[in-house]
C-alpha cells in the first residue's frame, strides 16, 4: 500500500511542478507589471508547436529547444512592448482581459498554421529514468520539478541581489513612485516580459512532452496555473511553488478515493477558491481596494 502512495506522490509532484512552473511565470510578470497574463498558456502552446516544427525540419535538438524559448520570449515581449504600454494605467482586471485578446489571436493562428492531427514532442531525457518509491521517473519529469525549484530560488536571489531586481521590486510596490524616482520602467518591464516569456516557452516544451502536444490543452493549462499563482496571492514565488506542487499531489492522491476520483481535476479550482475566500477574510465592505 505504501508503494501505491509513493506512486501517486511522485506522479503528483510531476504534474504539480508543471502547474507551479506556469504559476511562477504568471507571478513574475504580475509582480513587476501588474498584468495577469492569460496568454501565458497560448505563448507556451505556440512555442511548443514551433519546437515540433523545428524538429520536423530536422533541426538538431539543442538548437530547437533554445529556439523554442526564444519564441516564447519573442511572443511575450511582442505583447509587452506593443500592447501592454497602452494599458499601463488601466485597472488590473482590464489589463488581464486584454491578454485574453492576445490569447485568442495566438490560439487562432496556431490552429490555422498547424492542423488538428495528433503530434508528439519527445526529449532524449524521456528515455532515461530512475526508480523512486517504485515508480519509474523519467529525467524529463525530474527536470520539471528541479527547474521549478531552481527558478524560484534563482528569481528570489535575482530580485534581492541585482539592480534590475531591485527596480522590479520597486515597480511591484508602487508603479507611480517608481516612475517618479527615475526607474526605467519600460526597461524593467521588458525584462519581466522576457523572463516570463522564456518560462512560457520552457513550460510549453515540457508540457508538450510530458502531457500532450495539443495547442488547446496547453493554452488552457493557464487556468490551473492561475490557481497555483492564486495560492501565492499573485505575488509570492515560494507560495506559488508550494501551491502548485500541493495541488498536483492532492489531485493525484484523490485517484485513490474512488467516489472523488472522477472529480480530482477540480482540485486546482477548489484550492484556489478556498485561498481567495481565506484572503478576503476580514476585508470590510467599504473602501474596497481594487488590486
Amino acid at each position: 500500500m505504501l508503494k501505491i502512495y509513493g506512486l501517486f506522490l511522485v506522479s503528483g509532484l510531476a504534474v504539480g511542478s508543471l502547474y507551479a512552473l506556469g504559476g511562477i511565470g504568471l507571478v513574475i510578470l504580475h509582480r513587476s507589471t501588474g498584468v495577469l497574463n492569460f496568454a501565458y498558456g497560448a505563448i507556451a502552446a505556440a512555442s511548443a508547436m514551433f519546437c515540433w516544427q523545428l524538429v520536423t525540419w530536422e533541426f538538431p535538438g539543442p538548437v530547437a529547444w533554445c529556439l523554442t524559448i526564444v519564441a516564447g520570449v519573442f511572443l511575450s515581449v511582442l505583447y509587452g512592448r506593443l500592447i501592454a504600454p497602452g494599458l499601463a494605467w488601466r485597472e488590473p482586471a482590464v489589463k488581464a482581459v486584454a491578454t485574453i485578446g492576445y490569447t485568442l489571436i495566438l490560439l487562432g493562428l496556431i490552429g490555422f498554421i498547424w492542423d488538428d492531427s495528433p503530434r508528439k514532442l519527445e526529449l532524449p531525457t524521456d528515455k532515461i529514468g530512475v526508480w523512486i518509491l517504485g515508480v519509474r521517473v523519467t529525467v524529463t519529469r525530474l527536470i520539471a520539478l528541479a527547474s521549478s525549484i531552481v527558478v524560484v530560488i534563482g528569481m528570489i536571489r535575482f530580485l534581492e541581489r541585482t539592480r534590475i531586481g531591485l527596480n522590479m521590486r520597486a515597480l511591484a510596490d508602487n508603479r507611480d513612485h517608481a516612475a517618479l524616482l527615475g526607474i526605467p520602467v519600460v526597461k524593467v518591464e521588458t525584462m519581466a516580459w522576457t523572463i516570463s516569456g522564456a518560462l512560457a516557452g520552457f513550460t510549453g516544451l515540457l508540457f508538450g512532452d510530458l502531457v500532450r502536444l495539443d495547442p488547446t490543452v496547453i493554452t488552457f493549462m493557464v487556468i490551473p496555473a492561475t490557481a497555483a499563482a492564486i495560492c501565492g496571492r499573485l505575488e509570492s514565488l515560494p507560495l506559488t511553488l508550494i501551491g502548485g506542487l500541493a495541488i498536483g499531489v492532492l489531485e493525484a492522491m484523490l485517484t485513490l478515493y474512488k467516489p472523488l476520483a472522477p472529480l480530482r481535476t477540480m482540485t486546482p479550482f477548489i484550492v484556489a477558491g478556498l485561498v481567495i475566500f481565506w484572503m478576503q477574510r476580514g476585508q470590510r465592505l467599504t473602501f474596497v481596494r481594487d488590486r
Binding site: I4, L7, F8, S11, A14, V15, W52, V55, T56, E58, P60, G61, D116, S117, P118, R119, K120, E122, D126, G129, V135, R136, T138, V211, R212, D214, T216, V217, M221, E251, A252, T255, L256, A261, P262, R264, T265
Partner: protein, 424 residues
C-alpha cells in the same frame, strides 16, 4: 545532427498522413478494381445526393469511412454510376462538436435532401442526429461508429462493430488464451461511448465469474500517467484499451515509461489496428499487445479487400486514412451501391432508397466474418464476429480467425437474424 525521433514521423503516418506506402502493394493492374456497373464510362445523368458525416478533430480522427466511401463512389461514377446517374457525395466534419453535428446533419438531411447517409464515422453525430434521421425517414449506413446510438436505432446500421463487440471479442480471447481474471476497461467518459462499452465489458466478465473495472477518463484529461496508475492501484491483471488510436498509443507510451508491459496483459478493440502503428509502438510492445479486429486484415487476399486497396489507390486522396474504418466505409458504400443498382434510376428518392437498404439481407464479403444484413428492425448490429491479431515486429499476425462472441447484449440481434434467416 540529431535525427528526428522515429516516433514523430511514425505518428504522423498513423494519424492521417500518407498511409499508402504502408499497405502491402497488391499487383497493381486494374484487375482487382471493380465498381458498380464496371462500364468504364462516366455517369452523366442527374446526380443522386448522398451524405456522410465524420468526426475529425482532437482527440481522434474518424474520417476513414467517408474517405473510402468517397473513393468508391468516384469509382462508381466513372463506371456508369447508378444506371447512368452519378452519386454526389457530400461529406461534413462535425469536429467532435455536438452543436455542429446537429447543424451539419440538418443541412444534409433537410437542406440538401440526401437520399441516405453512408460511411459515417463520429463519436457525437449519431447521438445528436438519430432522432432527425428517424423523423425524416432517412437511413444511415455508418462505418466508423463508436457509441450505442449507432446500434440501437431503426434508421442507423453500422458496418463496423463498435467498441462493444470488439471489446468483448478481445476480452473473450484474453480470458481463454491469456488467463485474464480481472480486467480494467479504460475508456472516454463520453455519453454512450466509454460508459456504455465498459459497462457491458464488466457484465461480460461477471457472466464468466470474473471481475471487471471501469476507468473512465475525461477526453480532455491531460494526465495519462494517473490513468495508468489508477489501473495499477485497481490491482487488475488485464488492461482493455477502449480508446481511439491516439490516446491508446499515449497510454501505451506511459506504460512503457513505467515498464508496464509485463505487469498486465494488454488487449484492445480495433482502433489501434492501423498500418504503420509499428513505427510508433516500436519493439517494446512486440508480442505483448493483442488486438481484436472487426474486419479482415488490411493485407488479406480476399477479392473485396484487394478491390478496396485498388479503389483507394486509384480514387483515394493523399492523406486518406487506410484503416479498418476505411475498409468499413468501402464495403458500406459497395453494399449501398449494389442496393441502389436494383432500383429504377428514375425512381430513386429517399423513400425508395430507405426501403432498398432495409431489403439488404445475407450479402457477403471477405471483409466480414459473417453475412451483412439490415432488415426492418428497431436496432441493427450485423457485424459482431471478429478476429484476433497480435502485434509483432512492427506488424500484426493473426492468432485467432473469425469467432463470434457470447453476450446477452446480442439477444435481440440473434432474434432478428433468426427471423431474417441469417446465419452467422
Amino acid at each position: 545532427m540529431k535525427k528526428i525521433p522515429d516516433i514523430l514521423s511514425a505518428l504522423a503516418l498513423v494519424t492521417g498522413a500518407m498511409l499508402l506506402p504502408a499497405v502491402p502493394a497488391v499487383a497493381d493492374g486494374h484487375s482487382d478494381l471493380s465498381c458498380g456497373l464496371n462500364t468504364g464510362k462516366a455517369a452523366t445523368g442527374e446526380p443522386i445526393k448522398v451524405g456522410g458525416i465524420n468526426g475529425n478533430a482532437p482527440p481522434g480522427d474518424f474520417s476513414g469511412g467517408t474517405d473510402a466511401a468517397a473513393a468508391y463512389f468516384d469509382c462508381v461514377n466513372a463506371n456508369g454510376g447508378i444506371n447512368g446517374r452519378p452519386i454526389q457525395y457530400i461529406v461534413e466534419n462535425d469536429q467532435w462538436n455536438p452543436e455542429l453535428a446537429g447543424q451539419v446533419g440538418t443541412k444534409l438531411v433537410k437542406d440538401e435532401g440526401v437520399v441516405a447517409l453512408v460511411g459515417n464515422g463520429s463519436v457525437v453525430s449519431m447521438a445528436v442526429n438519430a432522432k432527425l434521421y428517424a423523423d425524416e425517414g432517412v437511413m444511415a449506413m455508418a462505418s466508423a461508429c463508436a457509441i450505442s446510438d449507432c446500434y440501437e436505432n431503426a434508421n442507423i446500421v453500422s458496418t463496423n462493430q463498435g467498441p462493444l463487440p470488439s471489446g468483448i471479442g478481445a476480452l473473450k480471447f484474453a480470458i481463454e488464451e491469456l488467463g485474464s481474471k480481472h480486467a480494467a476497461c479504460i475508456g472516454f467518459n463520453i455519453p454512450n461511448n466509454g460508459g456504455w462499452a465498459c459497462d457491458w465489458m464488466n457484465k461480460y466478465m461477471e457472466s464468466k465469474g470474473l471481475q471487471g473495472s471501469s476507468i473512465l477518463m475525461d477526453p480532455t484529461a491531460v494526465d495519462l500517467n494517473s490513468i495508468y496508475l489508477q489501473a495499477l492501484a485497481e490491482g487488475v491483471d488485464t488492461i482493455l484499451l477502449m480508446l481511439p488510436a491516439g490516446p491508446a498509443i499515449g497510454l501505451l507510451k506511459v506504460a512503457e515509461e513505467q515498464g508496464g508491459r509485463d505487469q498486465f496483459k494488454w488487449v484492445s478493440p480495433t482502433p489501434i489496428y492501423e498500418p504503420g502503428v509499428g513505427n510508433v509502438l516500436g519493439d517494446y510492445w512486440s508480442g505483448h499487445l493483442y488486438v481484436n479486429i472487426e474486419l479482415a486484415q488490411y493485407d488479406s487476399d480476399g477479392p473485396d479487400n484487394k478491390n478496396w486497396i485498388a479503389v483507394t489507390k486509384k480514387y483515394g486522396k493523399d492523406g486518406d486514412r487506410l484503416d479498418t474504418f476505411s475498409q468499413s466505409g468501402f464495403i458500406s458504400a459497395k453494399f449501398f451501391t449494389d442496393a441502389l443498382l436494383k432500383l429504377d434510376p428514375a425512381k430513386i428518392d429517399r423513400a425508395s432508397v430507405s426501403e432498398a437498404i432495409k431489403q439488404i439481407v445475407n450479402v457477403e464479403s471477405d471483409l466480414l466474418c459473417g453475412p451483412y444484413y439490415v432488415g426492418d428492425a428497431d436496432r441493427h448490429m450485423p457485424n459482431h464476429a471478429g478476429r484476433m491479431v497480435l502485434y509483432k515486429d512492427g506488424g500484426f499476425e493473426t492468432v485467432r480467425d473469425c469467432y463470434d462472441i457470447d453476450t446477452s447484449y446480442l439477444d435481440p440481434i440473434r432474434a432478428q437474424e433468426k427471423a431474417l434467416g441469417v446465419t452467422q
